[in-house]
Symmetry: C3
Subunit: 242 residues, 3 copies
Amino acid sequence: MIVLFTDFGNGGFYLGQMRAVIAHRAPGVPVVDLMHDAPAYAPGCASYLLAALAPGIVRGAVVLAVVDPGVGGPRRPIVVRADDRLFVGPDNGLFEVVMRRATTVDCQSIEWRPAELSATFHGRDLFAPVAAALAKGTVEGCTLREAEPARCGSWPDDLPAVIYVDGYGNLITGLRASTLAPDVQIGLGGAALTRARTFGDVPPGTLMWYENSIGLVEIAVNKGNAARLLTASIGTEVRLER
Amino acid sequence: MIVLFTDFGNGGFYLGQMRAVIAHRAPGVPVVDLMHDAPAYAPGCASYLLAALAPGIVRGAVVLAVVDPGVGGPRRPIVVRADDRLFVGPDNGLFEVVMRRATTVDCQSIEWRPAELSATFHGRDLFAPVAAALAKGTVEGCTLREAEPARCGSWPDDLPAVIYVDGYGNLITGLRASTLAPDVQIGLGGAALTRARTFGDVPPGTLMWYENSIGLVEIAVNKGNAARLLTASIGTEVRLER
Amino acid sequence: MIVLFTDFGNGGFYLGQMRAVIAHRAPGVPVVDLMHDAPAYAPGCASYLLAALAPGIVRGAVVLAVVDPGVGGPRRPIVVRADDRLFVGPDNGLFEVVMRRATTVDCQSIEWRPAELSATFHGRDLFAPVAAALAKGTVEGCTLREAEPARCGSWPDDLPAVIYVDGYGNLITGLRASTLAPDVQIGLGGAALTRARTFGDVPPGTLMWYENSIGLVEIAVNKGNAARLLTASIGTEVRLER
């Protein structure tokens, strides 16, 4: 199975061209669009989001992940094997949090280059062919070499900030709910937030936070739009208080 | 075949996680994304839309339908068999109009619960595994029990209101064109609407209605945006006059 | 393989209904969503975009292309075979540029009509069944007849105008970079544009143009939105100066 995680957006032809390469090179391999509006240009935020999604991805899958503002620059293309999932993409921190939380990690740089490599679209020209080869269980023609990935040692294990805003205006943070002390208070801007289990637990219009379906602290307003109400967006900091 | 009908939107990772569950549990079963911007939080409007779409779905298909504002609350998960199509989703009225128009109807509640059931995402954790099992022709491990669905007896057979606004600003109503008297006049707000067969039948800028491709009354402006012109949205009432 | 190219947008049920027809009629045939926000109502701009994308489509594929503002009117449905790719859609100029750049071209009109043909949705009712039949290698039941396509002789070989605005606000033009003289200057509105190889080659905020991943001149601002900065949209003209 190939799982796609990008910041390409659902519009345009970028995704379609990448899908066409995979369909041609790995016919019969199931392709799952996990998400295509990952935090744009922001491998850091995307890294916390991908790490929260990773446990839900079946072992053995190839995850083709492209959040790559430095495309065409010096950053390397890599393959990371973490807990039996293979991650293919740029070595720009995107896989930092996945690697940190994995039990077993192994990294290889992609030395292979296609005959035609565009300057701006390595997702189609470089990463998709490698992901297709890996999904077919072969890397024939796609030379890999053991390598040390770039590490981001200064990043925290959990990020107290908004890393994604969903279509309802819910604010997803980089904090795993399971890491919080029971008496912690979560705030954003001037607002203090009630903890709830689900939307229906609070009256319409009430600000709250809950552990979302991928284990992260999510801030929402029942039947409302938290992003608008709090004028928050990707990068907005969250306060932890006791 | 599994047909998806949700209000998740095309963005985010909700859809992707649900697709991943299906790809893992029902490998090889074709999955068709019918629509993912069904009326949000509005199982009533969504019910009229789904019923208009249902005849176009091949018999034997499993329809995984999630418009579920009460997720985590007391509403039951159900499977409805209506005219040889299986509908899996919440028992909140979403299948009311499908059931009412079907020749044969049979309903079962889903008694099975997964080992891990998130409070906010039954689409991924509960409905998708059941849909996958049904599509493979087995419900092994997914206990079902004959049940009476919640019925919405007060709902009309056709809904004289906007139930969906498409990307062009066209207003789709809950009225089947085939149920209208030949001399009926359709109005919305202060506007009276000309009946047409297709866009090109009226000059640019003209308001009109026509029977759309799923048999519903649709209000549009040739080369214009009816939603903006009439400041109409989901729920806006439509007048029927003689 | 069936490749989809439409202006339906990713929302709504139009795409889903078309996909359901294909899944039912051509089970097992891979379907690739190339793009669904092709220039709306604009077969001219869409024609230059499709021609730039065509070389990236695998030979033997069936391209189901629907940008069809005249649906229900007199324009004919056609099948164009160009360099071993089959294009199915309306005879309204959408395939003009593909045909012009192809080495071998062959055109047939679709004489077959389905039992039920809606006035507004030939993508689902007419083009999708024909594409499915062609992808299965048969046109049994889908009568085709040799025909001369409508030609658009007055169109230039390259279009000096914006033909698509992507999700980042980048402006894609109908100009192939390979056709430009080395000393040409590209301008839009009052702005003159620097040529670059990729985003990172210029400081944030700088306007530039580069050859994009499908060979077209694309205008962008590093970490900015060119469409907003230049108030440009589909149809905005581009200047070529020496």
